[in-house]
Structure formats: C-alpha cells, structure tokens
C-alpha cells in the first residue's frame, strides 16, 4: 500500500478517515483543557458561562488567576529550578558518557553500555523508592555512627533532582552519542596537526559541532524533568514541584485555574520545542 500501487477509492477514503480520526483523538483532550481555561465558571465543564481572562489574571476570590496564586507560582519556580539542575547535570554526564563510549575501547565496555541503558526499563516509581531507601539508609547510618543529621538525604529537592537525573542521563547520553558518532575525527586530527593540544581541539572543533545535540539534550532533559511525576512523587519533600501541586489540587476537585496552568504549560513547552527545532536546523 504505497502511492505507486493503485488502491480502490473506498480503501483510500477509509484509511484517510482513520488517520484523521486518530489526530482528532490526539488533539481532543488538549483542546478541551485549553478551551475551558477561559470558562467564566467554577468548574471546567459545560455549560459554557462566557469568556473570561480571570483564571489567568483574576486577583479576588472566587476567581484567583494563575498569576496571583502564590502556591502555583512557587511550584512553577521549584519545577524550573529542578529542571535546570537536572538538565545541566545530565548534559554534563551525558557528554562524558558519549565521549567515553565513542573514543575508548576497554574491557567491560559492552556491559557498561547495557547498564547505561538500564534506567530506561526500570519503572520510574521503582527508581524513586530505591533511591529513597538508599538515601535514608545512608542518612540513618550517619546519624547512628557520627550523630550527623544529613538533611539533604531526606526527601526533598536534592533527592528529586538526583532521582530525575538518574534516568534522564540515559536519554542525554543517547542523544549526544548519536551526533558524536557522525563526527569526522579527521577534523580533530587536523587541529592537532596545526598545533592545538587535545583539549583545545575538543573545545574549538568537537564541542561546537556537538552544540545542537547538547542544546537539544538539555531541552529534552528540562522538559522530562518538568513533566516527571512518578519518580518525583516518591522523593518529594515539603517544596512541591508543579506536577505534584497540580495533582494535589486535582484530587481536591478541579477549577479552571488548573486549565489555565495547563494551557501555560502547553504554550511554554511548545515554545521550547520550537527553539530546539530551530537550533537543530542550523
């Protein structure tokens, strides 16, 4: 079934209709979330009570908009902070991993490569609890042995960052490796012949070549961190990232405020994705 092989008209029509239906299915929940952000009512459901911006800018009860809701704003800040940390760490380690697997042949390489892929096939919630268990083992051990209370090893933002970093790094490693593999090593050798030392060659030739992959990996890492729920849920302390705050709100019952936050998230991540695509094109 390819364009060069003729097909009955009916088959083609049904196929096209199926694909159209699929995209309708994909778009429907998001469209609904976006539209009800503007409903002038306490509930994100029909009947439609008219158009309002209050769920974004409203500053008095019962309609407090996103930009006046302290706890939502604070958790957006928390999520952004966690995302930046995770992106920075995982791109740094991912780059080191990519160079290691690309440039060195050593014993145990293939075992390490499989281990590196492993976080992809461990359920997020299991990653979360294993890190929770281990960090409290260490913290309790420190407390029993030396009487030191290691606050950072208790559930909180540090653990959230570590938990997300533990699986995002696999993704960044794969993204950066893919580009490094296509790199023409003779360019680096040319730099060495021209008198550059190894680090200078990597800094001035290889890293600029890798830049699109580094930025791409960073954006993907940031988004994955921002969206993550499972691992974060097990490791979160008192400062909740946005997904956790929204989850708690949603359990209490939803107002169009959540739609407004969701719409902002959609716009934000689409913009980031566009930036990323623009960088890949260059």
């Amino acid at each position: 079934m390819i364009p060069s092989i003729p097909r009955p008209r009916a088959v083609r029509l049904i196929y096209n209709a199926y694909v159209a239906l699929f995209f309708f299915y994909l778009a429907l929940p998001l469209a609904v979330v976006a539209v009800f952000a503007f409903n002038d009512s306490q509930f994100p459901s029909l009947p439609w009570e008219g158009f309002t911006w209050n769920w974004f800018f409203g500053d008095e009860r019962p309609m407090i908009g996103v930009f006046h809701d302290r706890s939502i704003l604070r958790s957006i800040g928390t999520s952004a902070l966690v995302g930046v940390c995770v992106a920075g760490l995982s791109v740094a380690v991912g780059t080191a991993n990519a160079f290691l697997f690309n440039r060195y042949q050593f014993r145990g390489r293939s075992v390490l490569y499989v281990l590196m892929l492993l976080p992809l096939v461990i359920p997020g919630i299991v990653l979360g609890i294993s890190i929770l268990v281990f960090s409290s083992t260490v913290a309790n051990g420190l407390w029993d042995r030396v009487g030191y209370d290691a606050e950072i090893l208790r559930p909180g933002l540090v653990l959230v960052v570590l938990g997300q970093f533990s699986f995002v790094t696999t993704i960044t490693t794969l993204v950066i490796s893919a580009r490094l593999q296509k790199f023409d090593r003779t360019l680096e050798e040319a730099a060495l012949n021209l008198g550059a030392d190894r680090l200078t060659a990597i800094r001035t030739i290889t890293l600029p070549y890798l830049a699109p992959a580094l930025i791409g990996a960073g954006v993907v890492a940031f988004l994955m961190s921002f969206e993550n729920f499972n691992t974060t849920l097990m490791l979160v302390g008192s400062d909740a990232p946005l997904t956790i705050t929204m989850f708690d709100r949603l359990k209490e019952g939803s107002t169009p405020l959540l739609n407004a936050v969701s719409l902002l998230l959609m716009v934000g991540s689409s913009l980031l994705a566009l930036v990323m695509i623009a960088f890949q094109r260059r």
């Binding site: 290691l100 492993l118 992809l120 294993s130 729920f229 739609n259």
Partner: protein, 286 residues
C-alpha cells in the same frame, strides 16, 4: 593508551560509574536487602522472606499484580494496533511537508505533562463532562452518564499517554523500508495482506519491539492514570507500592512490592527480546 589519554579515560569513566553505582545499582541492592528484612521487635530486625510470603499469601496483592501485568499488556497491544496504520501512513503515504507536519503533530501532546493529558480525559469523560453533555443533548441519554472511574476509561488514558513511544520507533523503521521492496512484493504476485505480513512487518520488527517494550514499561509503572481515571476496582500495583511507602510507612513490604514489579518488568522485557531475537542495545540504543 598513552599517559594523557589514560587520565582522560578515567576522568570520563568516573561520572558514569558514580551515576550508575550510586543512583542505580547500590540503591537497588539496598532495596532488595530491605525487602528481605523483617521487623521482629522494636528496632530489631531479622533476615527472612516474610515480606514475600506476605505478598504471595494475600490474594489482593497477587490479584492486583497479575491484573496490572495483563492490563499493561493489553494496553501495549491496543497501542500497537492503533499506532501501526498511522505510522505507516506517516512513513509511506504522506510526502514532504505533510509528512513532517503529521509527525510533529504526533509529538505535540507529549510536550505537555501527563497530568494535563489525564486532566483532559477527566473533563471529557466525567459525569458533568463533555461526552455526557453531548449524549444528553442528542437525546441518546436521559440523565448524566458517568464514564470515568472504570477500566475502559483507564485504558483510554494509558493508550493515549504512551502513543508517542509507539509511533516514533515505528515511523523510523518504516521510513527506512525502500518503496521498491514493497513494489517488488506486489510484482511477484503478493497481495496487500501477504506483502504486509512478509515484508512490512518483518522489516518494522525492531521498531515494534522497542515501541512495545517502552509502552509496556510506561503502563506498568504508571501511577497517575490508574489513580485519576480508574475506579475503585481498577487498583494498580504502583498504588500498592505508594500506599505501603507513604501511607502505611511499611517500607519493608513496599520494597518487596517494588522488587516484584522490577522482576516482572525485566522478565517480560527479556522474554520479548528473546522471542523476537532482538537485543537491548539494538532496540533502545538507536
């Protein structure tokens, strides 16, 4: 290796070893040890299989475990069946601009949080939701219809949430299939079905396997969708883990549950790879 590159090698190796050692391997060993621990008194512990006995001895735990596995497999199969024709369309029928636009459209829902997607389905399916209103408006239903909090709603959510992870590997694999090979299949007298069975599907196999593994993993480990869309009877195994850890504070039993989930997922991934003759490096590394 020269002296300089040897130093470089160890410098590059260190972060990898620290990452895998401190965040993946040792925590999982620690979790396994914890799951083998039994509280025998205040602050006193003994090594035993009590937690696993508790798991196998309690029908509700076993039942939830098996149900989660079966439902995740079902979600994987449904996702594959829905995604395959669409991926084929994107890879082989759509051309040029349309192709890249359709592909990008597939990615869009996954740039937003799973929470937002689940929330969208709640707005659609609940008693006061859009579908219910639509049914009443058309006269197909007399009163509000509750479509949320059951297995079907949960399945819709699971399939929706993991669709991307099936479409992307499938499109990638199908795109690499040369049109001429399909034409040759027809020239040799193959019908649509036999070309699909003997040419297209075998070629797409690595994509099917990696997509299925990821979708299965995501469904199995999902917490949000079963909690928000599933009903009282659609308990998910991750909810048991969560309640043991956070609500009941019985970490030993929770660790045993976590380990069971890990074993189940590894086993199924391993069997799938074996049956289809693929390797983890090939399916995940590309």
């Amino acid at each position: 290796m020269a002296q300089g590159t040897k130093l470089g090698f160890y410098l590059l190796l260190t972060p990898l070893v620290l990452w895998l050692g401190l965040l993946i391997i040792i925590p999982h060993i620690d979790m396994a040890l914890l799951s083998l621990r039994e509280r025998v008194g205040v602050g006193e512990y003994a090594t035993s299989l009590a937690n696993y006995r508790g798991f196998f001895g309690e029908p509700i735990y076993m039942w939830t475990f098996l149900r989660t596995a079966m439902m995740s497999m079902l979600a994987t199969v449904v996702t594959l069946i829905i995604a395959f024709p669409v991926s084929y369309y994107i890879a082989k029928i759509a051309k040029g601009r349309v192709q890249s636009v359709l592909f990008l459209l597939c990615l869009v829902p996954f740039w937003v949080s799973e929470l937002v997607r689940t929330f969208g389905w709640m707005i659609l399916l609940r008693e006061t939701g859009l579908f219910s209103s639509l049914l009443q408006w058309t006269g197909l239903a007399d009163g509000p219809v509750e479509m949320l909090y059951n297995d079907v709603a949960m399945m819709v959510g699971l399939v929706y949430t993991s669709m991307l992870f099936m479409v992307v590997p499938l499109v990638t694999m199908l795109e690499s299939l040369d049109d001429a090979v399909i034409e040759a299949g027809y020239d040799l007298g193959g019908s649509g079905a036999s070309v699909l069975r003997e040419i297209v599907i075998p070629h797409a196999m690595p994509g099917i396997v990696s997509g299925s593994i990821v979708v299965f993993m995501l469904s199995l480990g999902n917490y949000l969708t079963p909690t928000m869309l599933g009903g009282k009877d659609s308990l998910w195994f991750t909810e048991l883990i969560y309640s043991q850890f956070i609500v009941r504070f019985n970490w030993e039993l929770g660790a045993a549950f976590g380990f069971m989930l890990l074993i189940l997922s590894s086993l199924i991934v391993w069997v799938t790879l074996r049956l289809t003759g693929q390797t983890l490096e090939k399916t995940m590394g590309s």
